[in-house]
């Protein structure tokens, strides 16, 4: 029952790759150590399991995403309002960009090129 047929792709969804790589990039840049992240993420996995989450690993990246948000807030790299505003800004951008055109956040300043780019990895 354990081994299941799995897709060959390392990441099932582009956002899985995005949160995984962002966490690695933060650690590589020295903002925290990997063991610090692993300890935080381990607790999040345990809590998800205790809360009756699936036992097949299917919620793994959902837990990762929520753990990363909480970790960034805890370490004061982000605050909840900023994250919520940006999520809303992205939502608006998607809903107002004609299909087929690049989705971008309006009015972003210097260094925003990446944020404005809807790449496969960020998709």
């Amino acid at each position: 029952m354990l081994p299941k047929a799995e897709p060959d792709r390392p990441f099932a969804e582009p956002w899985h790759a995005q949160v995984f790589a962002l966490t690695h990039a933060l650690a590589a840049a020295g903002h925290f150590t990997w063991p610090e992240w692993a300890a935080h993420f381990s607790r999040a996995l345990e809590q998800a399991e205790d809360a009756g989450g699936p036992t097949d690993g299917s919620d793994y990246y959902d837990v990762w995403l929520a753990a990363l948000e909480a970790f960034l807030i805890e370490t004061r790299f982000a605050d909840p309002a900023q994250l919520k505003d940006l999520q809303e800004a992205w939502t608006t951008a998607y809903l107002t960009t004609p299909h087929g055109e690049p989705v971008e956040l309006p009015g972003r300043g210097e260094g925003s090129e990446f944020a404005m780019r809807d790449t496969g990895a960020a998709g």
Binding site: P10, W15, H24, A28, A29
Partner: protein, 209 residues
């Protein structure tokens, strides 16, 4: 990058990504705008984990160890250094330890706390490796779990379960299959499966490979 303003709205708007995808975008935008991560480094990491690293790296390490006794000795003595000889090194400075299967010992790897895995040699773990079920049961009833993977071990084989951590990652060196004495390193590497390097499988026999 200069973009044309969107005056017209003659087409249907872009498909709205899922809630988690939008939250991930929000995180990335915030981190990039604060200068905490370099977007090119993020792209490069996605590329490395998606395309460059995977079990083919570990298979090369195992095949080399099978053919070269000196390399095998170095691998067992200092996994991190021996693996780096082949150009594979840790993303987060994790320490690599190679554990070798033999006629009387079988090794199998788990991460009971999260999903620590020897990325440089195996890439990303399969979903089952990350599942609470595998993480809990492999320690509690390893033989039953291995049985489900088709790894049936005689009772007199010693079974060693290695619990990975953020600092130490294990690579299993499976037993070299019989009838492979004349094979090249590349031919041998083709017999080394991902699961055989986790310990939830065996290397393929030449007929099957």
């Amino acid at each position: 990058m200069t973009k044309k303003p969107h005056h017209e709205h003659t087409h249907v708007h872009s498909l709205l990504p899922s809630d988690p995808a939008l939250r991930a975008k929000a995180i990335e935008t915030l981190l990039v705008e604060k200068g905490l991560v370099d977007p090119e480094a993020v792209d490069a990491l996605v590329d490395v984990f998606s395309n460059e690293i995977g079990p083919q790296n570990g298979a090369q390490v195992v095949a080399r160890a099978w053919r070269d006794p000196d390399y095998r000795a170095r691998l067992l003595a200092d996994g991190t250094a021996a693996i780096a000889e082949l150009g594979f090194s840790g993303m987060q400075g994790e320490h690599m330890v190679a554990v070798e299967n033999s006629a009387d010992t079988h090794n199998v790897v788990v991460c009971t706390l999260c999903s620590c895995y020897p990325w440089p040699v195996l890439g990303l773990p399969p979903v089952w490796y990350k599942s609470p079920e595998y993480r809990a049961r492999l320690v509690r009833e390893p033989r039953a779990v291995l049985d489900e993977f088709g790894v049936r071990l005689p009772e007199d084989i010693e079974l060693r379960v290695w619990d990975s951590t953020a600092e130490i990652r294990y690579l299993v060196i499976p037993q070299r299959p019989a009838g492979t004495e004349a094979m090249s390193e590349a031919e041998l590497a083709a017999l080394v499966t991902r699961d055989s390097m986790i310990g939830t499988g065996f290397a393929l026999s030449p007929e099957a490979g």
